[in-house]
Symmetry: none
DNA sequence: TCTAGATCATTCACACTCGAACATTTGAGG
DNA sequence: CCTCAAATGTTCGAGTGTGAATGATCTAGA
């Protein structure tokens, strides 16, 4: 391998097909890309990106423009405009982040919208109810929205009020990765969400099967996902008869924890004290940092401590690569659009659908094998 | 590297099938593999890996790229040629009754199957796990079933064992009006079910809004639906701050209750004692009989006692016509077939879907209007 | 409208990968 | 023990993907 790579953020080089896949993802997430930007992001030359764009344009998957590419447009006369676009409906989509997690959801939604011949308008928002509402209102005011897909902040009174407001909107609303709580009879709201509790349980069971008997949990309470992960962790511990007290459960978002390194040291100390040999770490960004910290401290992963991340955004980049629970992000977007399309087509007679999707557990190195065999005889070192 | 590391053909070299399995594992873990890397890891020559990749690519399990392989991609047009065989599938369907409730589910399933160009084979079964299994086995043996939609009995050890067996079947399985419990990690089972708890809650809230402050529940514990109805009733009482003790909750399936008339008299006596003016009656067959009984006893419905039935099979036949919660039976069948069709078309990559549908509340005469001025001494009747 | 700067297409070179033919090993059955 | 067939390894010429250089073309801004 040629190690004279220019500062490559992606760590490992991609195959051409993956590169084009990434390119399409970026395109669907942002609506347009620049050759320069993508080249830098993927760590290849601009020429390569141009070639990719040409290939994709030949298949009609993108429209070429000077300096980059956009989603296929009917204004692009180079393509064989064989289909009547006739956008029957327009859907607004408001998501809390355009950097993490959500680009893939958007990508799945865009792909499905294209199949269903729908127009989709995406807006990013802050992680708070007031801004959620502002963004939705903006879509309602300026565009002609027939339906809304949204992942609102649901915390506090503001969140509840927002839900009520959404429920009362005159257009159908689908929540993505959110559930309407039973306390609020938001009976018109449909949703599609990943069953994060199931995902966490799957991770715990996997670690149990690998031989771990003390399995901790490191979460980030600032994320809406976290409560579900913790719930799944609890349920799995109960099912496996692991006592809750004595199990490490730390929150990396608590302000009093000081610096991250300090907190990680604290967590490791707790692990040592309780005999914990495996950790489920929510947000695999955290997991990557945690593994790095462990390695720096001379701990072997997975020998001394096994790690499973949650989200699978960057888990594969770590060294060693981190096993992670992967929510079906593309499908969340896809199913949300399917729900919306069916609702728009069938109207009120269709019953309210609420859909949970199961995540997948991706096994990599960070959780392989039993917890450290203390005095394991040196096995043969063949070859 | 820890012991157990399969960096070499340690112990036993793998058979080709196992090797391809490993290859797919690595692929799932990292999204892509290099021929070189995988060859080194498995201790075989690169050519062997290339041959494996070709085999897997022919089956559409991977996409070939220069230097390795990736997960199947739509951008890979080598595979898209004649892949979708559109060979029509056959679906088996086993339901616990061909008289009550299920005919409409079957009707919805049949309609959707026709749209999707699927063949569907329906079998009735008894309400017990052993017969469920017999019927499913018969379908598997005699017909050529590509998928199974089933509403099994899930009670007791036999029910759990049945679920495990279904989960292990080599064909996709969709449960209808059943949920796989979290205790059993039946992770492959998908389902579509009515949210009966929501339906019961809707009924309670409706009665509350009509002015009732004591709302009882008459259930039939022999039905799998009943626990959910009771749960919804409980949750709604809690939300409305109606104390649970003092609320009438009777089970018409309990054997010691003697004849139906006797039991109904008992229930009415309880209502009188507790000041209950409204009842949610599960299975509207029961509701019809109960209304008849009330009328016979000279009680006015809804004047003296308001009734809401559950299921809406025959509720409209009573005199007066009974308000009832109507589960979206047609849609349960329809969505089950949709799930199955999508699963058969998309294969393993599709995440497991679990869908809840909301029922509808059909308002008729038996629950209209406020409770009448007390004939006997009653508790406070505000508003 | 014109100019400066950016973007694009073409060519060439290089390294790596692929596939075919042939050689070798492995395992099952006679 | 032998034979055959399937699986695997080796070699080598052809093919493929990538990047640098260069000149043509395009866009933005005055």
């Amino acid at each position: 391998m040629s190690p004279e790579q220019p500062a490559e953020p992606a760590g490992k080089s991609l195959f051409s097909l993956q590169r084009r896949e990434r390119l399409m993802e970026e395109l669907r997430a942002h609506g347009a890309i620049t050759v320069r930007g993508i080249a830098a992001k993927l760590g290849v030359s601009e020429l390569t990106i141009r070639r990719d764009v040409n290939i994709l344009a030949d298949e009609g998957l993108v429209s070429r423009v000077h300096g980059g590419a956009t989603l296929p447009s009917k204004l692009d006369r180079s393509t064989a405009a064989g289909r009547p676009p006739h956008h029957s409906y327009s859907i607004g989509m408001v998501v809390p982040s355009l950097d993490y997690y959500w680009p893939q959801v958007i990508s799945g939604a865009r792909a499905e919208a294209e199949d269903q011949n729908l127009r989709i308008l995406v807006r990013g928002s802050a992680y708070d109810a007031a801004d959620n509402r502002r963004q939705v209102q903006a879509l309602l005011d300026t565009q002609n929205i027939d339906g809304l897909i949204v992942a609102p902040d649901m915390t506090g009174d503001q969140g509840q009020e927002l839900l009520r407001w959404l429920n009362a909107l005159p257009i159908p609303v689908v929540l993505a990765e959110r559930r309407s709580p039973i306390e609020i009879p938001a009976h018109r709201l449909e949703w599609v969400a990943t069953d994060h509790a199931f995902g966490a349980g799957m991770a715990v069971r996997h670690l149990w099967q690998e031989g771990h008997r003390r399995i901790g949990c490191l979460t980030d309470s600032s994320s809406p996902t976290s409560p579900h992960v913790v719930r799944g962790w609890h349920q799995a511990l109960a099912a496996l008869k692991i006592p809750l007290e004595g199990s490490v459960h730390e929150d990396s978002a608590k302000p009093e924890n000081g610096g991250r390194a300090t907190h990680f040291d604290h967590v490791l100390a707790l692990c040592r004290k309780t005999g914990t040999t495996a950790m489920l770490v929510h947000s695999d960004t955290q997991a990557v940092a945690f593994v790095q910290h462990c390695v720096d401290k001379g701990l072997r992963v997975p020998g001394d401590i096994a790690i499973v991340g949650y989200d699978d955004e960057v888990a594969y980049l770590a060294e060693p690569a981190i096993s992670a629970v992967r929510p079906p992000k593309q499908y969340v977007g896809k199913v949300a659009v399917q729900l919306m399309a069916a609702r728009l087509a069938e109207g009120r007679m269709r019953p309210v659908h609420r859909i949970e999707l199961n995540p997948e557990l991706i096994l990599r190195e960070s959780s392989a094998g039993a917890p450290q065999a203390p005095a394991a005889g040196m096995l043969q070192v063949p070859q």
